[in-house]
């Protein structure tokens, strides 16, 4: 546990000493601000639904930039040797890094709260719907980070890590569309179940379903387990 905290603190220091975290947070907030304003004026309704959908697409492409350095950076900086020989368990390293990246996600989320100010000032939004949307957003973001972290462990080139992660995440996002082409019920069900987008849609509509929560948590857990397993195998 203390080992995980040590890794976590190191990750946070590293994030804020490199420009990438600032860049990602800034681009995300500018993008979200733009979509929020656009949606507000377009629909004239005090809701975050459309904005949440846009935010999801934004993090699918931005979070790989947060996760890409997690292990690639350790390989190329030749610090992996230290990390693997310190008295740290593999899961402590994996979770410490994941929590560090998740903290950046949380900061990004907190930044979007500024959009809620005009929403509540001039409108009458559904608080529970917005709450569910944020939960969905964070869960989706965590799954994206876990997938990105796994791919980061596979290569020592950060750019390659990001370039693999983005299409993989986009595939999981759009895989739901494939169900319309399927005749078999099973395949339709499978594609719908695997879709990041369809589960997210539930949250955006205000449905906080345990199935959706579990889906993202299990997806993250699978990616992190693969990550730890790969590191162990690499020894």
């Amino acid at each position: 546990m203390s080992g995980m905290l040590a890794v976590y603190r190191k990750e946070m220091l590293t994030y804020f000493r490199s420009p990438i975290a600032y860049f990602v947070v800034a681009v995300f907030l500018v993008g979200t601000g733009y979509f929020f304003t656009y949606n507000m004026f377009l629909t004239g309704s005090a809701s975050m639904d459309e904005t949440f959908r846009n935010m999801a697409i934004l993090i699918l492409t931005l979070l790989p930039l947060v996760s890409m350095r997690l292990f690639s950076g350790e390989y190329s900086g030749r610090t992996m040797e230290l990390l693997m020989t310190l008295p740290l368990k593999t899961w402590e390293v994996v979770l410490g890094k994941f929590l560090g990246a998740a903290t950046i996600l949380l900061l990004m989320t907190l930044g979007t709260f500024i959009d809620l100010v005009p929403l509540y000032l001039f409108g009458n939004p559904h608080t529970t719907t917005i709450f569910a949307g944020y939960i969905g957003f964070i869960l989706l973001g965590m799954a994206c980070l876990a997938v990105g972290q796994f791919f980061s462990a596979l290569t020592q080139n950060q750019i390659v890590a990001a370039l693999i992660t983005v299409p993989v995440l986009l595939s999981f996002w759009f895989i739901g569309h494939l169900q319309n082409f399927q005749v078999s019920q099973t395949l339709r069900g499978l594609f719908a179940y695997l879709s990041f987008a369809l589960h997210y849609a539930d949250f955006v509509q205000g449905l906080l379903r345990s199935e959706g929560v579990l889906f993202y948590l299990v997806a993250s857990a699978i990616a992190l387990t693969l990550n730890a397993g790969y590191l162990q195998w690499r020894r």
């Binding site: 000493r17 490199s18 610090t79 040797e81 020989t85 008295p87 020894r235």
Partner: protein, 324 residues
């Protein structure tokens, strides 16, 4: 040879990458309070062996125990007892020195109340007081190496593994670093790899010579030197006909073999190398034999330095087995 008290022990360790065998059946041990030098040319397998002892990679076959822990099953317990400086100091460039050392101390589980004293101790030992608040990417190569060493010393590990600890340091820093290692080695087990020979003679109690993944010899520097005295050499330059000189020299008791090459550009001058045994005064006998009939210009009995021994082992021309 592997006593239970050995801090590091390797038993027939082999490492293969695919079909290629990098390390062939290496066995040796390092006791507490001992500094062992790991000597070999680049690519001999020093770093791979170090990595296996540190637990970064696992051997294909064989057993490694460090401080009583089997590296195959008790990797994490062992990691607490190992201080490891890899070949390239593993530094986070964006952190400053004290943040970095604090991270390592935390990861090593140094108790909270000992934090400050531990950091001070290693910073003083490695002369880092002036750069503690500087970002690591701004440091010179010598400082980077010393931050790496400081990291390894944190938490007073029982076993210290140093992969070329003095690489990139200037002579003054090398001296200081050796002192640090020497004082540390009094109560701990140290295995340091190097291709700098004087280092080994100065601080190591034993030397392991490795080449192409095979352990060629392990002994004290003094014994290795003595072992090689069996194949002493005398070099001389004389103005003489080659055949007659060779015949004359081979008559001297103790001379085993003679090779002669003409000195380029000087007519009739020969450079001669005599393989001799270790008997006393043989150079005087050789000198007398030559000077009786020809002009002797130079004669030198070559001291068996560790360098020669090393090269002899590495080039595979060593005729004798050393005792373990």
């Amino acid at each position: 040879m592997n006593t239970p008290t050995a801090a590091i022990s390797l038993e027939s360790v082999t490492k293969r990458f695919g079909a290629k065998t990098i390390i062939h059946d290496i066995s040796f041990s390092v006791a507490k309070g001992e500094i062992v030098g790991f000597l070999g040319p680049n690519g001999a397998g020093k770093t791979t062996t170090m990595r296996m002892i540190a637990g970064f990679t696992t051997p294909s076959t064989g057993r490694i125990t460090v401080a009583g822990c089997d590296m195959a099953t008790q990797n994490e317990e062992a990691a607490e007892k190992i201080g490891y400086l890899p070949e390239h100091p593993p530094l986070y460039d964006t952190l400053d020195v004290s943040q970095y050392l604090r991270f390592v101390a935390r990861a090593k589980g140094v108790p909270r109340n000992e934090f400050k004293s531990e950091l001070d101790r290693v910073a003083t030992a490695c002369r880092l007081e002036n750069v503690l608040n500087r970002e690591i990417y701004k440091l010179s190569k010598g400082y980077r190496q010393r931050v790496g060493l400081a990291q390894a010393l944190l938490g007073k590990p029982e076993v210290l593994l140093l992969d070329e600890p003095t690489a990139g340091l200037d002579p003054g820093q090398i001296q200081e670093t050796r002192e640090v290692i020497r004082s540390f080695g009094e109560q701990h087990a140290v295995l340091l790899s190097t291709h700098v020979l004087p280092e080994v003679t100065l601080i190591c109690s034993r030397v392991a010579i490795i080449n192409q993944g095979r352990l060629l010899a392990i002994d004290s520097p003094v014994s290795l030197r003595r072992a090689s005295e069996l194949t002493n050499r005398i070099l001389l330059t004389a103005n003489a006909p080659a055949d007659a000189l060779r015949a004359e020299l081979l008559c001297v008791a103790g001379v085993i073999a003679v090779t002669a090459h003409p000195v380029p550009g000087v007519d009739g001058m020969l450079n001669v190398e005599c393989q001799t045994d270790a008997r006393e005064g043989i150079e005087a006998a050789v000198a007398r034999a030559v000077a009786r009939r020809w002009d002797l210009h130079r004669l030198e009995r070559q001291q068996p330095t560790l360098e020669n021994i090393f090269l002899r082992y590495v080039s595979g021309s060593s005729p004798q087995e050393t005792h373990q």
